[in-house]
Amino acid sequence: MTNLLAYIPFVDPIHALQDWWYLLLIPLAFGIAVIYKALRSPQFEHYWQNVLVMTGQIVAAMIALAVVLIVAIQVLIPLIPVN
């Protein structure tokens, strides 16, 4: 017999995110930008603005990389002759 356990935050995984895993790139990029800008900014006047810009840059770069890989795998590689 299987016992069903109640969901406990930080112990159980959030399985609902399984289909939306790619959106997790946004908080990941945000966390990296928060730390990087905290280290590199001499002043903190436009700190959060810089963090948001860097987050956008990381996400845009990842999307661009994904597009390049999709084009290479779906279009360019099938064009290579087999023999």
Binding site: T2, N3, L4, L5, P9, F10, V11, D12, P13, I14, H15, L17, Q18, W21, L24, P27, L28, F30, G31, I32, V34, I35, Y36, K37, A38, L39, P42, Q43, F44, Y47
Partner: protein
Amino acid sequence: MSPSVKSDSRFTPFAALLAWIWPGLGHLRLGQRRRGMLIMFGVLFLFLGGVLIGGVDVVDRRHDPLWFVAQALCGPIAFGTDLANQRLLSDPQVRLQRKSLSHINEFGTLFVALAGLMNLVVILDALHRPAPRRNTDRRARAEP
């Protein structure tokens, strides 16, 4: 004047040790309160975010030793989470139900590992960052 005062950066191993013990503590020790608090927020955001997404299973010294090398750079919280993992998921039936799978496990593990790697950069920065001087902020503001 001593050489340590002349040079731009000082060697501060105690601050680096504090930065490993708790993220951001090294910069707080160096008198950089805001920087330290932002670092603390950033590293804990990634660490707790990873554990929230993938559960306690994402920090696992036994089954993911290479990932744990990066995660251990977060400090004692990574070892504490691993200990919680070993205790909470020791029962095979409980482990089966609470184990994270596929993308959730990958992203949770990546969040915590990146928190550790970013904290390594923080530790190295705390090791060589100069303590703030009184006139630094005024001089910086005066510059265009």
